[in-house]
């Protein structure tokens, strides 16, 4: 199916895809985080493009970041300093953790792109004043972007953008649900490819492609035998390693849902399009599953993980963390305890730039899968 080829092509070479978008006359705006209001970028006629760590050896970024900074931040800067991200017409930095905060400074001082925006979001998402402030910063971003691109970002354009992104989010969620209903119909790394490519692909094209994929899987579901592997949930931040899905599957398990910002946190909750568009985008950020760098109650993330695990009928959880990601590491003990209390087994897997050797990973996953 040619749709799959498209997703994999983008994943294999995101830089060429970004350059192609630029070549078509699009302003490409890079971002690093699921709190980026893509709707506003799209409404401005620009193309939101999620930047991932290049995965290459770090060379240039070592002159700016110590070794105890996470590979996402170092890798993103590496891409920019190596000139790989020359197609970006700008970069947007929603405020989340201490490392992203400094990435923005160092990017602004060294990469010097044509447009640099900080969206200094509130850190707490559960008060009235934080909500008003969230609306203020989103409005400010709307104005900054409009004035940089010399376009008007009207409410109508925003509403149109909200529709587009609601459709995309709805489609991605549907794909996840189809996998949950019968995990055999799509491999974990295929689903990963779709979701990840969706953050880079031309969104107008994407809204046409996703229904085709869904249709194909729905057809397949009717005839496919129910998959018998053990159902597990992945939890953590960014997942940039499609191989883990294959290794998990070969160990006899299958990922039926996740709590990743490159997964369910990206598509959960749609934006209400019957009210002020900026306020509606803000409301979604306050209500969707929260990143650990944000505060929304002290048990929210643990409760959400339990809810996912129960609803998706999973037998275990794999915490998949980037080394040096402080917010996730702080939440891990209590979230694990939440699972322990309910008798749900879990394991923690920490990666740096590269995955450990396949043999080592296989042994760990096989041991875990045997246990659950």
């Amino acid at each position: 199916m040619k749709e799959w080829d498209e997703f994999y092509e983008i994943l294999k070479d995101p830089i060429s895809y970004g350059r192609k978008m630029k070549g078509q006359g699009r302003k490409v705006v890079g971002y690093f985080c699921s709190y980026t209001p893509e709707e506003i970028i799209y409404a401005a006629g620009a193309h939101p493009f999620r930047v991932f760590a290049s995965g290459e050896n770090i060379h240039f970024a070592d002159a700016h970041f110590q070794s105890y900074c996470c590979s996402l931040v170092r890798g993103a800067l590496e891409g920019a300093l190596a000139g790989n991200l020359d197609f970006l017409g700008g970069a947007v930095f929603p405020h989340t953790c201490d490392s992203i905060q400094r990435l923005s400074d160092i990017w602004r001082m060294n990469v010097k792109g044509p447009f640099h925006a900080d969206i200094v979001l509130p850190v707490k998402l559960d008060t009235e004043s934080a909500k008003e402030y969230m609306i203020d910063v989103l409005k400010k971003f709307r104005n900054e972007l409009a004035s940089h691109l010399r376009v008007e970002i009207t409410d109508n354009k925003l509403k149109n953008a909200i529709d587009t992104f609601n459709t995309i989010r709805g489609s991605l969620k549907r794909l996840y649900e189809l996998k949950t209903e019968n995990p055999g119909i799509i491999g974990g790394s295929d689903l990963y490819a779709v979701v990840k490519a969706s953050m880079m692909m031309d969104r107008d094209h994407l809204t046409g492609v996703l229904p085709v994929v869904i249709h194909e899987l729905e057809k397949k579901k009717e005839t496919a035998k129910l998959y018998a592997g053990k159902r597990i949930v992945l939890a953590g931040g960014v997942c940039n390693h499609p191989d883990i899905y294959r290794i998990i599957e070969e160990a006899g398990a299958v990922v039926v849902w996740d709590d990743f910002c490159t997964g369910s946190r990206y598509f959960e909750e749609s934006v209400n399009n019957n009210t002020d568009p900026i306020a509606a985008i803000a409301t979604r950020y306050l209500e969707r599953p929260v990143c650990p760098a944000k505060h929304s109650g002290i048990f929210t993330r643990g409760e959400n993980l339990l809810k996912i695990t129960r609803e998706k009928d999973a037998r275990g959880v794999v915490f998949f963390f980037l080394k040096f990601c402080d917010p996730h590491a702080f939440d891990y003990p209590y979230m694990k305890e939440f699972l322990d209390k309910e008798g749900i087994p879990s394991m923690m897997f920490e990666v740096e730039d590269q995955l450990p050797s396949e043999g080592q990973m296989r042994t760990r996953f096989e041991t875990f899968v045997d246990m659950i």
Binding site: F65, D98, D105, E132, K140, H295, D326, A329, F330
Partner: protein, 421 residues
């Protein structure tokens, strides 16, 4: 009210007597001892305890007669008494990654075993977390809010990459009102706004005095070192807004001025003047101080202790409460790397330093990420060398004495050559 047991009354009287005694003498050690005794006996005396972050707005607590307790200060004490590694290991056995902040690891572990140099901090009645220093404190205070099951107030100070935005001012100012409401509920009484004004005035005066004390080291020879500042810092952090701070720093300032007048330096033979960046390496401050002194090098100033008096320019003496919003939001760690570099350049000029020692502190990302850029800016703009030491503020496992020693020797060689020794 229940009649207090005699032993309690006896103890309270004893503490009061000690307090009066030490208030006359005003020695740091005793002041801190009384402070921790008061905090530890708060359950008996009926006062409330709030745990608060080091950069947090403490004045409303003082005005409400709540005792502020600082887990970060406690972390420094744990580090200085070399008890950090054990506690960090304990936290790791609880599931906390060894890459996490060692203040947080020590404190989280300490709370469960009442360990450390003072047998643990007194239990909090409430937690006040201000994220102007880092995002780590948010996660750390969430852990403690779950552990102690007490209310948590988050004072959210948006990061100022460039400048200070009006929507930030609105948001932070509103939270000051929310903070007061939170305290009124937690304490079951109204805020005395007149008293808060007085506390605000005292706080500002304390900060100015602290600034004046630090400024004396612009003299050559410097009458005190940054290592002394690390020690005297405790009061401006913990008791800001009380008269005690004013008395203490007034005396300290007089003493320093006297030393300046008589040309007495902090180290016997000050030939090289250095600036320190980042939180001290608490378990190794003495070693480091002796090591530098052996090269006739004096750490005359630092970016760390000056953070507690760096925003007085934003404070309105006659409207402390309103201006707190800006002052607490624009502190040193809550600004862009380029603005931090400008602050460092100013300090290089003010204190006439020959080089900078930067502690690349594994525990503190907002302080450490960006140091390489600051280093390059300083070397470019002022042409002075910067030494980068990889270590940790509490966890000794991240410190290699032989390596640091060799690097300091090499660094001092460069400085000596440049100055023409």
């Amino acid at each position: 009210m229940n009649k207090m047991p005699e032993i309690v009354l006896f103890l309270l009287a004893k503490i009061k007597k000690l307090t009066l005694h030490f208030k006359k003498k005003k020695k740091m050690k005793e002041i801190m001892m009384v402070y921790y005794m008061e905090a530890k006996s708060a359950r008996i005396s009926g006062r409330k305890i709030a745990w608060i972050t080091s950069g947090g707005p403490v004045e409303p607590l003082i005005a409400m007669d709540v005792i502020p307790v600082y887990p970060e200060n406690h972390g420094a004490m744990i580090g200085a008494s070399k008890m950090g590694t054990d506690l960090c290991e304990k936290a790791e056995s609880m599931g906390y990654s060894s890459d996490l902040c060692s203040y947080a690891r020590s404190d989280i572990a300490c709370a469960t075993v009442d360990g450390g140099p003072i047998g643990g901090l007194p239990r909090p009645d409430m937690l006040i977390c201000c994220n102007n220093i880092c995002g780590t404190v948010l996660k750390w205070y969430e852990v403690q809010a779950r552990y102690f099951n007490v209310p948590l107030f988050i004072f959210d100070t948006p990061f100022c990459h460039v400048g200070y935005a009006e929507e930030v001012q609105r948001y932070v100012r509103r939270q000051l009102d929310e903070y007061v409401l939170f305290l009124e509920k937690a304490c079951g009484k109204k805020m005395d706004t007149d008293h808060l004004k007085t506390v605000g005035k005292l706080s500002l005066e304390g900060q100015r005095l602290w600034q004046a004390v630090l400024a004396t080291t612009a003299n050559s020879p410097a009458p005190m070192t940054a290592f002394d500042a690390f020690y005297h810092l405790a009061l401006i952090v913990t008791l800001r807004g009380t008269p005690l701070v004013i008395d203490y720093y007034t005396q300290l300032l007089e003493k320093m001025k006297d030393r300046v007048a008589r040309g007495i330096g902090a180290i016997p033979n000050e030939r090289y003047r250095l600036l320190w960046d980042n939180i001290p390496i608490w378990p190794r401050t003495r070693w480091l101080s002796e090591k530098l002194a052996s090269h006739n090098a004096c750490l005359v100033a630092d970016t760390y202790t000056s953070a507690w008096c760096g925003t007085t320019k934003y404070i309105d003496e006659n409207n402390f409460f309103d201006s707190m919003a800006e002052a607490y939001t624009r502190i040193y760690l809550n600004i862009g790397v380029d603005e931090m570099a400008r602050t460092v350049l100013d300090m290089v000029d003010t204190y006439k330093v020959d080089g900078i020692v930067m502690h690349s502190n594994r525990s503190c990302k907002p302080y450490s990420l960006g140091q390489y850029d600051i280093q390059k800016i300083v070397e470019r703009e002022r042409g002075i060398p910067c030494l980068m030491i990889e270590a940790d503020m509490v966890d000794e496992r991240s410190f290699s004495e032989s390596q640091v020693s060799t690097r300091i020797d090499a660094f001092m060689e460069i400085i000596k050559q440049r100055k023409g020794a």
